[in-house]
Symmetry: C2
Subunit: 214 residues, 2 copies
């Protein structure tokens, strides 16, 4: 049936509304996976920067001990890097929470609906194959038997379409809720960190029930 469809030699059952929603979900998943990959590389580069800040802080402290004339300069530089590392650890926790939640959304929540969609698409194929066969059957011959089979495939298809519609609806509500929260966390934690606002950073972590220390 699949090959006949590709060759345009048969008709396929199409539910424009459901199929459009499925296409949109695939698109959303692709975009979220992209965002997840970016968030991961964000956290990685940020961690590398933090590690350099930590070593640089130690280096400044060592130089402070050795250079009498530049003692102050090395001191305030060490202090600044130390604060950046301390706040950076908090931001990193927020980034990891964002990544972990987005990962669950992509690999579990959306994937669960995707599985139902794949079953629905397989059922649609079986249903259309049976329908095509029946159309090609000479009248009278085994018609009743085929009719029962056809009804079975039709019921299965309708049932799965129903499942998909329900899952899509719940997923849409759920993913919007999750993303709304996560995007707020991502923004607030980053905005607080990059404005040097430790209080706002702590408040954000508290708001999202996140531990400040890993």
């Amino acid at each position: 049936q699949s090959i006949y469809e590709k060759l345009g030699k048969t008709t396929r059952t199409v539910d424009v509304e459901v199929d459009t929603q499925i296409e949109q979900l695939r698109e959303t998943k692709r975009r979220y996976e992209n965002m997840l990959a970016l968030a991961r590389s964000y956290a990685n580069h940020f961690l590398s920067l933090m590690q350099t800040q930590r070593v640089l802080c130690d280096q400044f402290l060592e130089l402070k001990q050795k250079s009498f004339l530049l003692c102050d300069e090395f001191h305030y530089n060490a202090e600044t890097q130390r604060v950046l590392v301390r706040n950076g650890e908090i931001l990193l926790n927020a980034l990891h929470y964002f990544i972990s939640t987005l990962n669950t959304l992509c690999t579990k929540t959306i994937e669960d609906t995707m599985t139902t969609i794949r079953l629905y698409e397989a059922a649609r194929l079986e249903y259309d194959a049976c329908r095509t066969e029946m159309e090609l059957l000479s009248p009278g011959s085994q018609m009743n038997e085929k009719q029962d089979e056809f009804q079975k495939y039709k019921d299965k298809y309708e049932q799965l379409k129903c499942d998909v519609i329900i899952k899509l609806k719940f997923l849409d509500e759920n993913q919007t809720k999750v993303m709304k929260k996560q995007l707020l966390l991502f923004h607030n934690a980053i905005a607080a960190y990059f404005s040097g606002n430790k209080e706002a950073l702590d408040a954000t972590m508290k708001q999202f029930n996140l531990k400040v220390n890993s």
Copy 2:
């Protein structure tokens, strides 16, 4: 002479004060080279983070177009990353200036004094070798000739010691001045960037006559 010294079979001329200063300079050079390497990896990690911020900003903008319900969330996230990239470019210019100046200090300014030190050390070795030979000479034999040679090596050694002392003094003043300025720049640019203070960042760039755009 060098081998005899290592075996402890001969004496060497030592100027404690100059030799201590030379040792300190070697130590300072080692530490500055270390700091330079750290500053380079700082700038590299920061650049990687900025590149991710730039792509993430575009991704947020794309998602903003596609997600009606999360339009606001994607908008303010894109905006924040955009500002971070814009300010990050300024900070990166400051970091590059710090790195370039530190590089000149290590590979040119300090190295120039190091070259004189190496000449001084070679002259000290020749001078001590000649002195040892003279001490082993039987009295009377070629003494006058050797005496002249000895005086020549002694003069060369004294002259180079004098050069080293002067160079060390100027280098010390110069490197303190350069580092004082650079450490202030490094601190102020980083402090301004990580407190989200665009005005302070611009003011720092102006103070050090640096271009805001590369």
